[in-house]
């Protein structure tokens, strides 16, 4: 009896807290859907009309999202894929091939996660400027890959440590080359870990502001978050519903990815942090 009553208290508490949590989302959606003409800042809590798609289109044009969406998609697919492969190769070298002083190399690679981005921004900016990588898509892919490698190597090393040594020995006896063993045995086995890293890093790249702000400027290279800030800072130019529609639009991919892969995501999170 007591148990059920405490259970319902729990449910009510959670429901109330959850509703409070959803209020900003409600405000975002409702106001992003209001027509720009006749937008009334005094009634933000009430829905009023529906021109969400017109506002999407408006944000798309004003922030030149077309180019940036394409560029950001490229970055958040290619860079994590590269990072996952590079990290897996490093894990394979260290754990399976028993690279000499492997642990030290692992510490070296993983050490890359310790620096705040701020620590590498300025030299990257200077280096990119003098090497012609500044404001190029290649440059952005390279930097996002580099940033994602340490975490990927970390997870992959952990993952490969859990695989029995006999798998490798058997493959060697069967005469597989080291590259083939990596590609057709170890990579496929690591599927779920690879996917978890990919999702986490793709989200990170999609949501990045600082690197994009620093290393790019043209509409076709600049990632989406700096573009959105551009839209926002011209508050006079872009009306509030347009800005909010932009915010909603750029959030949709990560929210959908997150909801679709929630279990996966949390497992990846657990993998990464422990």
């Amino acid at each position: 009896m007591k148990n059920t009553s405490s259970g319902s208290v729990r449910t009510v508490l959670l429901a109330v807290l959850g509703l409070i949590w959803l209020l900003p989302v409600y405000l975002l959606v409702v106001n992003a859907a209001k027509p720009v003409d006749g937008y009334n800042a005094a009634t933000v809590w009430k829905p009023d009309g529906f021109s969400l798609f017109a506002n999407f289109a408006d944000a798309w044009d004003k922030a030149a999202l077309g180019g940036t969406v394409l560029a950001t998609t490229l970055y958040s697919v290619v860079a994590p894929v590269l990072a996952v492969l590079i990290g897996a190769a490093a894990g394979y070298a260290i754990v399976v091939l028993r690279l000499r002083r492997g642990f030290l190399w692992f510490v070296f690679i993983f050490g890359g996660t310790i620096f705040p981005l701020q620590m590498v921004l300025m030299p990257l900016f200077s280096g990119y400027a003098s090497s012609g990588l500044y404001d190029t898509r290649l440059g952005m892919v390279v930097v996002y890959t580099a940033i994602s490698v340490p975490f990927s190597a970390f997870v992959m090393r952990n993952f490969f440590t859990g695989i029995a040594r006999s798998v490798f020995e058997a493959a060697i006896v069967d005469g597989g080359s080291l590259f083939r063993i990596f590609r057709s045995i170890y990579l496929p086995m690591a599927g779920s870990a690879l996917a978890a890293i990919f999702i986490l890093q793709a989200t990170f790249v999609w949501n990045d502001l600082l690197l994009g702000l620093t290393l790019s400027q043209s509409d076709s290279v600049r990632p989406i978050m700096p573009a959105l800030t551009g839209l926002q800072s011209t508050y006079g130019g872009a009306a509030l519903p347009t800005v909010l529609a932009g915010g909603l639009l750029v959030s949709l991919p990560t929210v959908v990815l997150f909801l679709a892969a929630q279990r996966f995501f949390s497992r990846g999170l657990a993998l990464g942090q422990f």
């Binding site: 959850g18 028993r98 690279l99 921004l121 580099a146 080291l178 800030t229 915010g247 999170l269």
Partner: protein, 295 residues
Amino acid sequence: MSSAVRDARTGGRAAPLFGLPAVGVVALLLYVPFLWTTYVSFTDYDGLESPVWSGLTNYKAMFSDPDLIGALTNTLLWVVGMVTLPVALGLVIAVLTYGHRWGTWLRLPFLLPYAISGVAVGVIWGFVLQPDGALGQALGFFGLPGASTGWLQAGPGNTLMMIVAVTWQAAGVNALLFVVGLQSIPAEPLEAARLDGAEGFRLFAHHLWPQLRPITTVVIGLSIVGSLKTFDVVWVMTQGGPGTSSETLALSMYKETFVLNDYGQGAAIALFLSLVTFAASVLYLRYQLADGDSR
């Protein structure tokens, strides 16, 4: 078998090939820049002419320039705010949802903001907090004071409100981590405690909380490291203003370097941030490793 042993040795020789890309890319894009920033932090450098050695000048400036001291104070405020609010809320959400029949679903509203970028969080909360914005109107509707407060117009209030915004974003993921921690607690001792009559808060304080210590360390460690880097939300909501009232060190670094072209000063801030982050990371990694040993 002897051929396998020989091949395994070949593996040892081929191993560097597989490790090279990771080491190379990390060295070139993270370590070399890191060393360069470290060097520049001891120089006077505008990004154009060669850096001129200036010893600790930039560091002295960091601890005497009122603007930077303000940024330092705000960063501290962020650290304190982020290890309390989102951590406590995360814990509450985790404990309330754990073992609940609809736990996964009830956790969803809190997880949703985590999938949203810092930039979008800034856009939403900038909108909520603008003078006579959503928050002001809600307060006015209920006849509460503060309806026309300019939430972001003065420090340290603006920093506090932004901490609230990030709490909204981060509480869910902390809850998720705490749930992972709760799952790892063995069920039998808990059952025994329940049979002994431990319930509600007592069960939590005496049986759950002590066992959650390792995960709490992780959550707090991540919160500290994350809060030291706070940039996006502040950049979007106030750009560190008005004036420099809401600047964090991460933002000051960006401004000094890329707006004021004082690369040396920016580098000094970056190095200081790195050292603090590093110290925090080592501290919590040591806890984690110690915990791993005891298992």
